[in-house]
Every structure is written in C-alpha cells, then in structure tokens.
C-alpha cells in the first residue's frame, strides 16, 4: 500500500539529499516526492509517497523523525486529509473521433484540455491519488506521448496537523 508522508524540515541545503539518501540507502522506494516552502520561510514541507507494508512505513517514519533537520513527520494516510496531484498528459489522436473521445473522457474527470495540435491533445488534470490513477488507467486505451506528474501533495483536515509553526 502507498503511504503519503508529510515531513516538515529545516529549509537548509542538503536536507533533501539526506532524506532521499536515507530512504534509498535503506532499500525503500520513493514513488513521488514534492518539496516546497511553507508559511514559515525557515521550514520546508516534503510530501513523500512511499509504497510498503506497515512495518516498512513505520521504519521510514521513525528513520525520518530521527534526522537532526526533520522537525515533524506525519503519515497522512492514517489521518483525515486532502491530497492532490497535478498531471499534464499529451495524448496522440489519429482523427476527430479519437480526439472527441479523449476530450469527452477529460470532461468526465473535470480535466482541462490545455493544448491542441493536429495529432495530439494535452490535458491538465488535478485530483486525488485515486482519481488520477483512474483517469490514467482509462487513458491507456489511447497513445500517451508524454506525461508529467507533480507528485502528490497533502494537507491535514484537522487543525494543528503538520501546518507548520
């Protein structure tokens, strides 16, 4: 199972390398990783999606918490939270029929067509992990030429959770 781990870290050079090295060095995978500033300029927030069973995720969480530059680690998957990912996907369309289908599918997912070429359309979609996965699964019937994913970001639904100080 995939877990979304939010990590508040000191906004300092080398912290990202330390976190990534820690996870890869212990043989765990990172599916997506997103880093950005928070309201406090001295703190950055990392959202890491790690696949693994409960034991793996517990180890990752404890190992992250142990780092000297890590302020707080929260496994969002265990809590009420919102998660979103932005994707940009360019799909090859041979003819009008194809294009209409892709546009139709996009509209069902409330995705937007952001560019149209003669032989392709580019769709932008924002959604939670599940919706994004569903959309991409359905798009597999078409020829995906290129895809860029922002990685998941997540925010707690209750006050005081990982909101930075």
């Amino acid at each position: 199972m995939k877990h979304i781990i939010n990590c508040l870290v000191e906004n300092q050079p080398g912290v990202l390398a330390r976190i990534v090295g820690l996870i890869s060095g212990r043989g765990y995978n990172i599916e997506t990783l997103n880093v950005g500033p928070t309201a406090d300029p001295t703190v950055s927030k990392m959202t890491i999606v790690v696949p693994g069973d409960a034991h793996v995720i517990e180890q990752v969480t404890h190992q992250l918490s142990k780092q000297v530059d890590v302020i707080e680690v929260v496994n969002m998957t265990n809590r009420r939270h919102l998660n979103r990912e932005l994707i940009l996907v360019r799909v090859a369309v041979g003819d009008h029929q194809h294009r209409a289908e892709v546009v139709d599918l996009a509209s069902l997912f409330m995705a937007r067509v952001v560019a149209v070429q003669e032989d392709s359309v580019t769709v932008q979609m924002v959604g939670n992990q599940e919706t994004v996965d569903d959309f991409l699964r359905l798009l597999k019937h078409y020829a995906i030429v290129d895809i860029s994913r922002s990685g998941v970001i997540a925010v707690g639904r209750e006050a005081g959770e990982n909101g930075g100080k």
């Binding site: 050079p13 090295g21 180890q59 190992q63 780092q67 890590v70």
Partner: protein
C-alpha cells in the same frame, strides 16, 4: 550527558576571531583534551592556531588511524573523540572510521578542511564532496558557509554527537571560512528546533514492563551498547539482582554486567555461550536494554526467542521493532528507565530457571583442545586474563581473535572491551588501543589482534612509541585470515581461497617459493617502529612474555605463532536457529 554543550567563552567584550580560532576555542570549550589528526593545505589555518592551543594534538600516520584513535578514546572515556583532517583524500580516508563509529553509536566530532567556498564544485585540487560522501555514515554533518555560524555549529556538533544515540558528526570547513573574521560566540545552551534527544520514558509503559517482569517465570536481560553509552551499569546490576534475572550481553556491552557474577550468562549470538543462546531460546520474557537485535545476535529472526514476550528499551525509537517484534517498547535512556523500573519490580527468586541456566553453564563452558606442540589462540587469551588479573582493557580487530577475546576473558567493568561491532572493521584495533590509552593513561591497554588486522594500520605503532604509551599488542598469528578460512572450511568445502598470509609450514603456494620464514617479520617491523618485540612459539613462553611486557612501561608487540586452523566454537551458522549450533572442541 550534559544538556548544554558549551563552546567558547561568553565575554562582555567580543573581539573578532578568525574561523580557525573559533574552531580551536570551540573544541577546547567543549572539553576536548586530545585531538587526533593530520594536516594538509585546506586546514593550515587551523593548524596555525593549534600551535599555541591548550590541546594535546596527536599526529597520526594515516587519517583512518586518526578516526579510530578518536573512536577508541571515546569508547574508553565516554567523552566525544575529536579529529581534524584536511580536504579531499584526508577527508575520504576518514570514511571507514566514521562508519565504524556510526554503526556502534560512538560520539565523534570530525573536522574536515574543504576547498574555498567559491571553488566548491569546480573539481579543485584536493576537493571531494565530503558532505555527500559522509552523509550516510554520520549522525549529522555540516558545511560551514560563514564564520559567523561556526561557533554555534561546533556547539551543536558536540551536542548532537553525545546525546540521544551518540554518533559521529562531521564539520566541513572551507579554507576561506577559516580566515574569515567574526565576533560571534556560541550560545550558552544549544537549542535545536528539530532535535530533541532527551526523551522521558512513558511511565505507563515502564509500569507495564515492571508488571511483565513481576509475572515472568523465566526472564532474561539482553543488554547492548546503549547500556554502556547510557552509563547504566549500576542500575542494571540492581535490577538483575533484585528480580533475580540472568544477564546476557552483546559484543558492544561486554563487562557492563560483571561476567564473573553468577547471574551472568555472558555473550549471546553467533559465537556466544551455549547458556546465553539456550536462555534466549527458553526464556518467557526477554528484556532488551540498549541492544538492536543485530543479525549476528538473532540468527534466524523467526525463531529468535520463540517463547518470550519481548521488551525493548532503547533511546533510538527506530531501533524498537526494527528487526524483531517488540511486544512492549519503551523509548528512553537505559539508566533512567532501569531506575524507574526498580521500585516497581518485586524482589523475586527464579530458582528453577537459574538452576536450568546454571546447568547449561556447567555443561557447556567455552572449551578447546590443546594440540601438541602448538600454541592454542584461546590459551593466549586465558593467559592475558590471568597475567593482567582480569584488569586489562582489551581492544581487538575483527575475526577469530575478536571472538576468542570475548570467550576466554571475563570482563567485569564497562568500557573494558573495545571492538568494532557493527561494521566489523579490520585495522581498528591498534589505533583504537592508542586512543584508549591516551584517554585512560592508567589502564593496562592490550590490543588483541591477528596477523591480518594488525597489518591494516600497523603504521600507527610509531604514535604509541613516540608518546611512550605502554600498550601491549598481542598478535595471534595463524598465517590465515582466520575467520574467513573458518567459513571456507565449514561452508565451502575446505576451499581456502585468498586467505593465506605468507608463512612457511603452511600449504604450498607456488608463487612464493623462496619466501622468508616470517612474512612479514612482525618482530622486525615492530622494532623498526621503535617498539619492543618478541616472538613466542611455545605455550610456556606466553605468560613470561606477557609479564615482561605488562610491567615494562614500554610499547610492546608480542607475536604468538598459534595453531593455524583453530576454529571459533560454538558457532550458530548465519541465519540459523540455536538448535543448529556447531559446538566442537577442536
């Protein structure tokens, strides 16, 4: 462990200092008395300040030696070990030493020079990405970007190194920062938003532990390096005696509970005592104190302590439940947790259990068979124990001699046995002995080593001679890389591949038909380094040689030509269960 790491002095007037001076002041302020290191272009400014510093600087002969010495010093004294090396190769040579300290949780502060800030990333002369290289083998590392932050970084480095689970910290200081001027001083107390090592144990969990101890019929204390780092010896003994619990220790905790105590079942694991491993197998409650269930301890994880409820006390939360399920975990330093347990634990007697354990101890002591005309390596360790009256501070390299040093010597005090446990670093022994002796001048420091390990850092012997350190290096020379040979004998059908270390009277080796009798000649080598030396080839010469060396006040190397194919037993093969233990006496 002090919650406050002080560095420098806070004066009303704050004159400008160079970065280099900040480093020296920071070290002195943090209590550093001995600094091990090696100079080079990127640390010339620091060495210039060192010239008049109230610090004992020890010039090693290799940077790896410097880190191992600082490590030995730290293990012997409990204080942070300090070293100072230059950029590039100077820094990369410390990596093995840092990894050794990291695995065993030893506090070190290692200062590395770096090329000037503006040249970083330019492939400058003697440039290496030391922060990148050392990141996985340090508890933390710092690249200093301005002299203003240097005083605080040094204070933080000592604080991080010595608190929580201790570990090595690297401070990488670009050359231009060493020349930069600053008026800054370190804060009186270190405050770190993201690092809070001093965890108070949860009283409810402690109460639950106590309840389990009170209910247990067959409890066992399994004690590791955390009890040494946490200075928990007395608290441990009090608990063991009050609740009548036998004690086994890991390699990292030899002597934390006296091995001559009736409650001691000595070391557990692959080459541990039969009694300790049987006790783990049969206990109904395993109380782990500052140990981390290393694979050399557990063997087959699924069959480890199968009848037991497992309690795990550790300051490192990530260690609890990492490799073995912990039924109750308590995060906290060993000493306060044990002290909190004590009043909650009832005085108890476990006569039946202790009789059982006693029978295992009587029936399966460590034994070996004397082979005619040969010195048995185990015999040498017994003699070191006897001649030193059990008082020697023993350091080792890694391999067969290391295991014999645990089996045939009874350690009674914490920090009496110093060895690279987690990383298993050959070449650790000799420099660590020097560091330990410098930290504890009154100790009788004996380095038990092999003909393989001692050659990895032999050059450091001159440091002992220079400083007239009365260390005694006992080389158990069996002409083999013995532990590897043992595995090849047992698990690879006697195919000895790449393990012969050039001596005559060994298997023919066509490449060296006309070799010297002793290759290398350790006696000549030692003498060339200025040490006293002798070679011992008969059992009856062992004790007199030790007596002579121990009383001499000089640096000694005693080479013992020992039985070439002696094995370390008992042995639980890697990944196996205690029932698969091999226990021969030859």
């Amino acid at each position: 462990m002090s919650k406050q790491a002080k560095a420098g002095q806070v004066a009303d007037e704050q004159p400008m200092r160079t970065g280099a001076q900040c480093i020296i002041d920071g070290l002195v302020g943090a209590g550093c008395e001995v600094l091990f290191g090696y100079p080079g272009g990127a640390v010339l400014d620091i060495f210039n300040c060192l010239y008049e510093a109230p610090l004992h600087f020890v010039l090693t002969r290799h940077e790896q030696g410097a880190v191992h010495m600082a490590d030995g010093y730290a293990r012997a004294t409990g204080k942070a070990g300090c070293c100072l090396v230059t950029s590039g190769p100077g820094a990369t040579n410390t990596v093995t030493g840092l990894a050794t300290a990291y695995m065993d949780g030893i506090p070190l502060v290692c200062i590395t020079g770096q090329v000037p800030l503006h040249l970083i990333g330019n492939d400058a002369f003697q440039e290496a990405d030391v922060i990148g290289i050392t990141r996985p083998v340090t508890k933390h590392n710092f690249l200093v970007r301005t002299a203003d932050e240097l005083p605080e970084i040094i204070a933080k480095a000592f604080y991080i190194a010595t608190t929580g689970k201790p570990g090595p910290v690297v401070i990488d200081v670009p050359k231009n920062i060493q020349k930069q001027m600053t008026a800054r001083r370190a804060p009186d107390a270190v405050e770190m938003r993201a690092y809070h090592p001093d965890v108070e144990a949860d009283p409810a969990a402690v109460a639950r532990l106590a309840e389990l101890i009170n209910q247990s019929q067959r409890p066992l204390l399994y004690v590791g390096g955390g009890a040494v780092n946490g200075d928990a010896s007395a608290a441990l003994a009090a608990l063991a005696r009050r609740a009548n619990i036998p004690v086994t220790t890991t390699l990292m905790a030899m002597g934390v509970f006296p091995e001559d105590d009736p409650l001691s079942v000595r070391m557990l694991g692959m080459h541990g005592s039969v009694a300790a491993n049987y006790a783990v197998d049969h206990c109904d409650l395993l109380i782990s104190v500052g140990a981390r269930f290393d694979d050399r301890v557990t063997g087959k994880i699924s069959a480890f302590a199968p009848r037991a409820v497992i309690e795990h006390i550790d300051i490192d939360r990530s260690s609890i439940g990492k490799s073995v399920r912990a039924d109750v975990g308590v995060q906290g330093y060993a000493k306060p947790v044990l002290e909190a347990l004590l009043p909650l634990v009832r005085e108890a007697r476990h006569d039946e259990w202790l009789e059982q354990v006693g029978r295992w101890k009587d029936r399966f002591p460590f034994t070996y068979t004397q082979r005619a005309g040969e010195i048995m390596p185990q015999f040498v360790i017994e003699k070191i124990y006897e001649v030193s009256k059990g008082q020697a501070l023993v350091t080792t390299d890694v391999g067969q001699h290391q295991m014999w040093a645990t089996q045939y010597f009874r350690y009674t005090k914490p920090r009496q046995f110093i060895s690279s446990g987690g990383l298993g670093t050959m070449g650790f022994g000799l420099p660590a002995t020097i560091g330990a002796q410098l930290g504890r001048p009154d100790a009788l420091a004996v380095c038990v080593t092999g003909d393989g390990g001692v050659q990895m850092n032999f050059q450091e012997l001159v440091v002992a001679v220079e400083r007239q350190l009365p260390i005694v290096v006992v080389i158990l020379n069996n002409g083999y890389l013995g532990m590897v040979r043992q595995w090849q004998e047992l698990f690879y059908g006697h195919r000895y591949s790449g393990v012969m270390l050039g001596q005559t009277e060994r298997r023919p080796n066509e490449h060296v038909a006309e070799r010297p009798v002793y290759l290398p000649d350790f006696v000549k080598m030692a003498e060339a380094h200025g040490a006293c030396a002798c070679r011992v080839t008969r059992s009856e010469e062992v004790a007199p040689a030790l007596e002579k060396a121990f009383g001499s006040g000089q640096t000694w190397v005693i080479e013992c030509i020992v039985s070439p194919e002696a094995n370390v037993f008992p042995m639980i093969p890697p990944g196996a269960h205690v029932a698969e233990m091999i226990n021969r006496t030859v």
